[in-house]
Symmetry: C2
Subunit: 420 residues, 2 copies
């Protein structure tokens, strides 16, 4: 049985995602395609534009057979932890044979080579990385410099600057490298493949083509909401789900929708507490605290707080960590336990029933199809704790939904699993 795995956010599901699925399926001819998808908070540290059940339906109607939720403890993390959570979840299924991800470079070999260095961390590479971090560069920037210098030092440098940028300088490739690194480190049996990305860059604001970035689509939804423009960028079924969700008051949700909660959180938390939130370096807690008082809204807070080193998305992620109580100790604890502790199924296609049967046999962690059973299904306290963070993420996310009736809490326990 060939099972293709994908790690994604589908925020929202657009033509670029469709392209990636189709290309991967053409290459691999899998029996099933499984996605590990972020729940209510994404890798950029943002509330998802519509809830995870709507996004599950989008996926199921466009070639995905099974949607597994990436726990909130992993979904709003650096590329490294996000990838670790996603790959480990695929590993834990015991059924996924391949994983496909997009990359700018579109070939596996240079990515794999770099990923090895990132995983093994040879001394020379580490000292280069430290040097650039000490110079005040952000982590991705420092790593970029260290890698290029490391390979030139090894006498291996047949890639042009432009190629290097594709291998390690773009958002997608950074994730691709982290996927490969985790596969290597976890001695995974899952085979990687990469599909060249098409269309504009990850965070491009351009929405005029058939393929636009999810960022551009979200901006359009929040600012101008030209449905015809958006329709061009998404498969029809995905567009219909999105449009009807938004017209019924289920979205659009952004961090701005949670502004009072997020600013209140930071104004209320003592510096000592903020210091303990994941990703907060020594001293950053004071900057966060001070900027939260100076700012009159969330955008202003983010603009005031960010620096060359502490980039915008990092500050956003820190807010989500604070919101969900993701402190350093807890994340470390989860990592030592091997990452995701359960397979929470958000939805599946009827075609996938044999796959589910196989999954029950092979999975290394409990499978949750009904949230209400979590107490019975999850025996370890650590798994329960991780699951309760997902529940909390939903309960807080829902306060940002425009339509009042969707603000109700505990929707993890009342929303049905999606089956198409």
């Amino acid at each position: 049985m060939t099972v293709l795995g994908i790690i994604a956010e589908y925020n929202p599901f657009h033509n670029g995602h469709m392209h990636h699925i189709k290309q991967s399926q053409e290459l691999l001819k899998p029996d099933y395609t499984v996605v590990v998808m972020s729940g209510h908070f994404t890798q950029r540290g943002e509330a998802a534009i519509v809830d995870k059940w709507e996004r599950t339906e989008m996926a199921l109607r466009n070639g995905i057979d099974l949607v597994i939720e990436l726990p909130a403890a992993y979904s709003s993390q650096t590329a490294e932890l996000f990838a670790y959570g996603g790959i480990q979840l695929l590993n834990h299924t015991g059924v996924v044979t391949h994983v496909s991800f997009g990359s700018e470079v579109g070939e596996l070999e240079p990515l794999s080579m770099v990923a090895r260095v990132l995983a093994d961390e040879p001394v020379q590479f580490k000292s280069l990385l430290r040097k650039y971090l000490e110079q005040g560069l952000s982590f991705p920037q420092a790593r970029y410099r260290a890698i290029t210098e490391y390979f030139s030092g090894c006498g291996w440098s047949n890639l042009a600057e432009a190629q290097w940028a594709k291998v390690i300088g773009s958002s997608n490739s950074i994730l691709a490298l982290e996927y490969l690194k985790t596969l290597y480190r976890t001695k995974s049996n899952i085979q990687p493949l990469t599909i060249p990305r098409v269309g504009p860059a990850y965070s491009s604001a351009d929405i005029n083509g058939r393929i636009s970035s999810a960022t551009a689509i979200r901006n359009e939804l929040v600012n101008r909401m030209r449905w015809d423009t958006i329709a061009r960028t998404m498969p029809p079924s995905s567009f219909e789900i999105l449009k009807s969700a938004i017209l019924s008051g289920k979205g659009p949700v952004t961090n701005r929708s949670l502004e009072q909660l997020l600013l209140g959180l930071v104004r209320r938390a003592p510096s000592q507490e903020i210091k303990d939130w994941m990703d907060v370096d020594e001293g950053l807690e004071n900057r966060i605290k001070e900027c939260a008082q100076r700012a009159t809204n969330l955008d202003e807070f983010l603009m005031l707080t960010k620096t060359k080193r502490y980039v915008y998305t990092r500050i956003q992620r820190i807010l989500i960590h604070g919101l969900l109580g993701l402190n350093k100790g807890k994340i470390e604890f989860f990592r030592n336990a091997g990452g995701p502790q359960y397979i929470r199924i958000l939805g599946f296609s009827k075609k996938a029933i044999p796959l589910l049967k196989q999954l029950k046999q092979s999975a290394r962690v409990p499978i949750i199809t009904k949230a209400a059973q979590y107490n019975k299904k999850l025996e370890s306290p650590i798994a329960r704790e991780m699951f309760m963070i997902d529940v909390l993420a939903t309960n807080l996310y829902c306060l940002g939904i425009p339509g009042d009736k969707y603000k109700k809490g505990n929707r993890d326990f009342t929303e049905r699993i999606r089956i198409i």
Copy 2:
């Protein structure tokens, strides 16, 4: 020097307040009139309709010479703690000679008599109180029953039922009794006087007369905003301050304005933490937690949570305690330290300069006129802690102000003291 003290909220300052000040001043002919005023959160557990600086101006333009802030640790508390904070603050000034409060009964004698019983807690009274509490009555209800029964048992019962209701059954008299109780317990030299209340009851919704309750005025501001109707109920200068504050986006602020923060707070806090918030009885934390998930908005949450015993205002106060981190231990700690630890002056009239000179000589606790000096002025950690709660109260309150520019934090350090 005769100095009249008043404890009030002026939320907003209306004709009833004016009447109270005038009557008291006619009776006493004081040299100065001082008010201890709630800051941003009031005794009903609500965000004040406009900020404390606007309300200070209202007071100063209508017969008050000096406005002292009641620390947030005391302003959103039961009548007992609120009164304790207010009276102790007057005691701490060392200059206030009299305190005047409204009451339905309008005479001091029956109030004093009951206050003695409440302060001394004779065994028979205590057992009656316990009995009614065990029957599930709210504290005010149980106390009402216990008092009437206690006095009838003593053979002293020349007050008709309607009179009893006036002495202990109304909101104002409950506060009056607590003021007297604290004066008695703290062996205060301050002489009490009481002025009969005029106009509709404390929380009456009727706004058609010249004297309306503050509740009715706030409702009008939030719901219909008929300026002419509101104008009738307030002294002209107070009305102008209120109207211009609201038209410039400084209000109206209500708990609804902080809905996301308050609901998010309760959804986010573990039951174990809620259990520790001031006024949360054993088991109530679970009810609060559960209702916060079921509710889609704040009103719904309050309606779901309240019971005969846990009345609406108590639940509101609990939310404010949670918001400001007022847990049981902290309140106990403050009480053991003798209540308010500083005299924070929000404003004064130029006429009051000799009074301020005298205050500097006589005050038993540090005087704060510039918040930025708190670190220098407040030597004890407990005083600093109490002050930081006031600062936090402002920082969170401001997130509920409609106009974006007033959402800025740390306004305690930037707003000037009001002098007229």
